[in-house]
Symmetry: C2
Subunit: 412 residues, 2 copies
């Protein structure tokens, strides 16, 4: 079942906004058996909306549009769709009631400009938006479904989960094409491909592999190439793939590393804390980003300045003087300090140079020491990580996870 | 000068990867006068590449393609382009030399699969990639430029900045259409639009306004509608817009809030620290994300567990007992504690309920107390923030910035 996404908004084309809506929509529609085969990002212009719809309607059965439903003059999606589908207008009383209640809750006056949001094309079915003021709309144009959603990410989530997906499930009966993804870490893509050369040859015509490298992580997706391939046949190849990769596999899912980490911490009943210098709290923040983090996360100390390393983490100032803040010795002292201060069984410490400035010949930008402590076992390693500041932090997070997993295995 | 971007990769359509490459490309090409009027995301399939190129070549003068240049079998962009443009092949000796040096630096063997990356279509000019193994390619097809770049974000940055942009600048002489963006905060989009109704009416046909709401921030972009509008005429309207908005404007640029914050901290010679509970280190991490953060950022304490609030931040345990961890009193104690421990002139503290669980009737999910301290002045406020965990953190960061700016103004 072919589907596509059209995101509307000059801000997407000017690079002012990162499009996370289409990512979410893809993630939830793919497992339902929809094949999202195109995405288009277009400007807030009537002509662009019409041109992209002309194209999409020819090649897809489901088209999801996001953006351009706000109350301001630059929001033209609703009027353009009404015109495109030759629709009259209607007032939606439920939406109006919802608007009145939102504005009264927020203690704000309901302006005319806001009231207009309850006026909808007569041809569409309302996709109710409990979390915001702009309702979604669903048009059924001779069997092609065109859904128009607002551009605010959590409103997209709300409407997809509670309104559109239930309708899609009851209307379409789709057989998904099977695919599954696993996670490897710290092994380069080309090295993996070399190892899998014979395997890849043996599956061709029925399956394909895709390599998704991302900051010291390579995810590998096994795709069935058509819907005649059974779960049983797929599972055999999947097991073979895992066997071929051996201990390069860190997880047999493509869950975010933060969730993989959370899973282990909860299973093992570990408490974790972090002491971070160059990663600036990124590792702790990633661990907290998972709902329910309070069951395993105690806290972090971001000791960007050296005196904090001494004052809060009890790192001996002489140690910093002697070896430098970016050293094996200081990383170990930090991990010991934070596990003590926070009273945790697991601790992570980082000290390094995120760049772009601050590097020296001996300790160039990208140098990082990562120390991991699990009960009485400590592992400390140096890495050289590439990329911008935020990419450096991402790599550090992924790398720390692998170091943690390895220490866990070896300290059994 | 019309331009568009084609991103290739099933991972984009499956929602496994967030596309930041096209965001970067838009950001750097727009100020040069390119009008990015379409983006397409397509699958790793020959047919999709050909269909999207057919379309793009008709409507744009510059087409930038990202992805599908890796060494593995799912990377088909290079061969598809060579076929599409009927090109022979050539070995690029500089690329081969570069590959040999990269692999020897990383202590890895140069495999045949890697060597193949130095084989390029004879028709293209090489866009040298100092940071990676896949070179970019530039085709000039009767005046339409088609550039093909790898999918790795920092390699895209490298090739754009050092190879493609210099070529574009020397080849095309473009007059940019003027636009400029400012930042407002904590005022709803519709309220701003109401205030600007007369202004918007007065500029129509020559200028347009765009509203870009994002987590308690609304950015407003003033667009000139054609290239006959002079800088002088634009500036007059711009000043008028700023005047209309008054103190709703927090910055007359669209810089990220982290950079706006950094600018003030550096100007005022402030040192900052954060004590974070519900925001899990997000605020500190955003402050550190700016290059040169060590001039103003001392550190953070993420006191997710209550005992850390007491042990590290010296928050009286009785206070937590009496008022609860999510309270005005504890927020104030945290901000005092961290400014003392970290010895900083400015401090931020947060305590709240990020959700989705943990809310009560009295303190529902989304409740947050933010305390800001500048020297001896403290401001403490309660907010109700909406969205997922990460959206909650984003809103908290933006809201803390506005609270900081207001306190700064009132404590002068």
């Amino acid at each position: 079942m072919k589907a596509e996404i059209i995101t509307i908004g000059d801000e997407l084309l000017l690079g002012q906004t990162v499009d996370t809506n289409s990512v979410f929509i893809s993630k939830v529609l793919t497992p339902l058996g929809f094949n999202i085969h195109y995405k288009q990002a277009i400007s807030d212009s009537k002509q662009a909306i019409i041109e992209s719809l002309d194209l999409s309607i020819k090649r897809s059965k489901l088209i999801i549009i996001t953006g351009g439903l706000g109350p301001t003059k630059d929001d033209i999606t609703k009027h353009t769709l009404a015109e495109y589908f030759h629709s009259d207008w209607r007032w939606d009383k439920d939406v109006l009631k919802h608007l009145e209640s939102i504005f009264s809750d927020r203690g704000r006056e309901l302006l005319d400009i806001n009231k207009q949001q309850a006026m909808l094309p007569a041809l569409c079915e309302t996709l109710f938006n409990r979390k915001g003021t702009a309702p979604g709309m669903l048009f059924d144009i001779q069997g092609v479904w065109v859904a128009s959603l607002p551009g605010v990410p959590y409103e997209v989530v709300e409407i997809m989960e509670h309104s559109l997906i239930p309708k899609l499930k009851s209307e379409f009966n789709i057989k998904p094409i099977i695919n599954r993804t696993l996670t490897t870490a710290l092994i380069p893509e080309s090295k993996i491909a070399q190892k899998l050369e014979a395997f890849e040859e043996s599956i061709k015509n029925r399956f394909s592999l895709a390599y998704l490298p991302s900051y010291n992580i390579v995810k590998i997706r096994l795709n069935a190439l058509n819907s005649t391939i059974t779960q049983n046949e797929f599972d055999q190849k999947w097991e073979k793939l895992i066997h071929e990769l051996g201990d390069w596999v860190v997880d047999t899912t493509d869950s975010p590393i933060s969730e993989q980490w959370a899973k282990i911490l909860i299973e093992k009943d570990f408490q974790i804390s972090t002491a971070e210098s160059c990663t600036g709290g990124y590792i702790g923040n990633q661990l907290v980003s998972v709902s329910g983090a309070s069951t395993y996360f105690q806290g972090s100390v971001v000791s960007y300045a050296n005196q904090i390393k001494s004052n809060v983490l009890n790192v001996d100032a002489d140690l910093i003087q002697k070896y430098g803040a970016v050293s094996k010795e200081v990383a170990v002292a930090m991990v010991n300090g934070v596990s003590q201060v926070m009273n945790t069984s697991v601790a992570i410490a980082t000290t390094g140079i995120a760049g772009p400035t601050g590097g020296t010949e001996e300790k160039p930008v990208g140098t990082i020491w990562i120390a991991v402590k699990i009960n009485d076992h400590i592992s400390v390693k140096q890495y050289k990580l590439r990329g911008t500041r935020i990419e450096f932090m991402l790599r550090a997070f992924n790398t720390a996870f692998v170091q943690f997993k390895n220490l866990l295995q070896h300290s059994k």
